[in-house]
């Protein structure tokens, strides 16, 4: 406990340099910006900005990229409340009551409560990382190869739960991602594999090319197909300082949302989107007057907005303590760390204390920055909402081109991105989500490595995965998760949730 506080103090010393504060601010600003703009999500943005972070120190880079992620949770609520279009998938439920409040002239209240809830949730979520991270990492240090293999299988299976649509197809997407992850040199023999004689592929498929293709390029094409037009509520935003009564009314929802989000963020497959949906359902259930929901209930804004922020924060825990990404965004963080020569895993906290504690400290500072960025400066963001998509998509395609080129100064990566853009577009049309594929791609090489090592220690007998208790536990958990998703009633609930999201 005391040690954690001391180390956290060290983290603040790392962040409180001019450079890192600036990266934190840039991350928070970009996060808010993309949160506000519909049609541009954190996954696409982080892959757009990945190349630009090469020149930075790893600490600065990761501070900035994570700021984008949790910043997007703040910005998403603004669009949801004012335009009734969720800026991010995590703000879908915020739009239900938030937009009603805006129509009743209570936009200021809704925005303020969303920001205050996000702030409280962000700070509590960060505290959880600081105190739960080190013990979890110590536990993970005793993991052996079979344990790791099973842990990653568990992570991949969880990605299926997150995916929209058919379970079978989601599993197929993971396998497809794993296969793309195999491309490149075989680590044990140095033999090129699946490269089709392209020398450019011997280091594997460029991570930025696959992420930008699947999410950036494919999303642009899909957005252009449907005409996005939006109208901003013209009413003036007043009452940005909610009365004490309103805060008291919302406080219970904020704390419940924070608790729920904190737990769901850590669980693989939970994630910020599921957290906000669950929180809305919870608030409706505990409320004495559920009929107010859908007609401008403040709890319907406070709960989900707190939940998604808490989850955005705590989803860093499995990544930083076990090297396990639990969502596409976290898979991008693995990519970012790897590009900077840091292998995510239990040793990050002890070997890279600056990185871990600096990141945790930056989250506190980032949350303070975000509440300032979002409340007094709300007018600026509202004006940005009017940026037409016909300019936004040009911006995305050009930054994609330059970004993917700049990673290794090769035109080949642009061709790769075109290919993955086409694939991503086709997969969307064929009701298959690209997010599990990206997870498979990132985890593929690690899974193979641990599989091969386990088979050597197990003398070629796959029973080795069942003999070790930790490994067995993860495999059983994966199996339970798969069965539970396939069960009829849970499956129905899950479909309902995703239906709401599309509506």
């Amino acid at each position: 406990m005391i040690e954690s506080l001391q180390l956290l103090g060290h983290g603040f010393a790392v962040v409180l340099t001019l450079d890192n504060l600036m990266f934190c601010l840039i991350g928070a600003l970009f996060g808010t910006l993309i949160g506000v703009l519909p049609g541009l999500g954190p996954v696409a943005t982080i892959s757009l900005l990945l190349p630009a972070t090469f020149a930075l120190e790893p600490v600065g880079a990761i501070i900035m990229l994570s700021g984008i992620y949790y910043g997007a949770q703040y910005g998403g609520s603004t669009t949801a409340i004012l335009v009734n279009i969720p800026g991010e998938s995590t703000s879908v439920v915020t739009a239900i009551d938030g937009y009603q409040m805006a129509r009743q002239g209570r936009a200021g209240q809704a925005l303020a409560i969303a920001a205050i809830g996000s702030f409280i949730a962000g700070c509590i979520g960060t505290l959880v990382i600081a105190f739960a991270g080190p013990p979890l990492a110590r536990m993970a240090q005793s993991f052996t190869s079979p344990d790791y293999f099973s842990l990653m299988v568990f992570g991949l299976v969880s990605a299926v739960v997150l995916a929209n649509g058919s379970l079978f197809r989601a599993v197929a997407m993971i396998v497809l991602g794993l296969l793309f992850g195999m491309i490149g040199m075989d680590v044990n023999t140095g033999m090129p594999r699946l490269t089709g004689n392209f020398i450019e592929l011997s280091d594997g498929v460029s991570f930025v090319a696959i992420a930008l293709g699947l999410f950036g390029v494919a999303e642009v094409i899909c957005n252009l197909e449907q005409d996005i037009s939006r109208t901003v509520t013209s009413s003036k935003i007043t009452n940005l300082w909610p009365s004490f009564a309103v805060i008291r009314q919302a406080m219970g929802a904020i704390l419940r949302g924070t608790g729920l989000g904190t737990v769901m963020g850590v669980l693989p497959g939970g994630g910020a989107t599921m957290a906000s949906f669950s929180s809305y359902a919870l608030e409706k259930k505990v409320s004495r007057t559920p009929s107010r929901f859908g007609r401008g209930a403040i709890e319907g804004v406070a709960g989900p907005e707190s939940a998604n922020n808490a989850a955005a924060q705590t989803s860093f825990i499995p990544l930083l303590t076990m090297g396990l990404p639990t969502s596409a965004t976290m898979a991008l963080m693995v990519g970012a760390l790897t590009l900077h020569g840091i292998a995510p895993g239990p040793n990050v906290i002890t070997r890279q204390p600056d990185l871990f504690w600096g990141l945790v400290a930056s989250m506190f500072i980032g949350n303070v920055m975000l509440i300032i960025i979002n409340l007094p400066m709300i007018g600026l963001w509202v004006r940005l909402l009017r940026l037409p998509y016909r300019f936004l998509f040009l911006l995305i395609v050009i930054i994609s081109s330059i970004g993917v080129y700049s990673v290794s100064n090769s035109v080949f990566d642009i061709y790769l991105m075109i290919g993955f853009g086409l694939l991503g577009y086709l997969l969307r049309k064929l009701d298959a989500e690209p997010a599990p594929m990206l997870m498979g791609f990132v985890l593929g090489p690690m899974i193979e490595e641990n599989f091969r090592r386990s088979m050597i220690t197990g003398r070629g007998d796959p029973m080795v995965f069942l003999e070790r208790p930790i490994s067995l536990a993860f495999l059983l958990l994966s199996l339970a998760l798969l069965i539970s998703v396939a069960l009829p009633f849970i499956r129905k609930r899950r479909e309902e949730i995703f239906q709401d999201e599309e509506a």
């Binding site: 197929a172 296969l179 005409d227 016909r390 100064n409």
Partner: protein, 149 residues
Amino acid sequence: MRIKLVRGGVDFWSGLLLVAIASAALFYISSLEIGTALDMGPGYFPLMIAAVLAVMGAVLVVRGLAVEGPEVPPMNLRAGALILGSFLVFALLLDRFGLVVAILAQTVVASFASRESVLWQSVLFGAAMAAGSVALFIWLLGLPVEVWP
């Protein structure tokens, strides 16, 4: 009555796509050493993955033929072709004509992908993007690319 061969378009075509990708992978894997479970060669794990993918794809194809399912939603080929084409234009022009020409050309091609685009506005926006990119990527980040032809 016309007999419909493909009953579930989404299942059938996604299955076919996966089978195609898996077959391509299997073709390349065939030249790799597979090894045994105890002493795995470079081809062992990819072979497992590709085989699983091929089977899953085949299941989807069969399901698409046998079970009534959703049709593939209509595609707007224009937007897709123009956006992908704009990247191709950028890639082809970059090394020969420099960053500014490549960005302007990409903006012009891409802007036709949106019905709302106004060409002169897109060109103006592209010019601003070109200026910003030169400042950010070349001067600030030192990207080794020519600015002009």
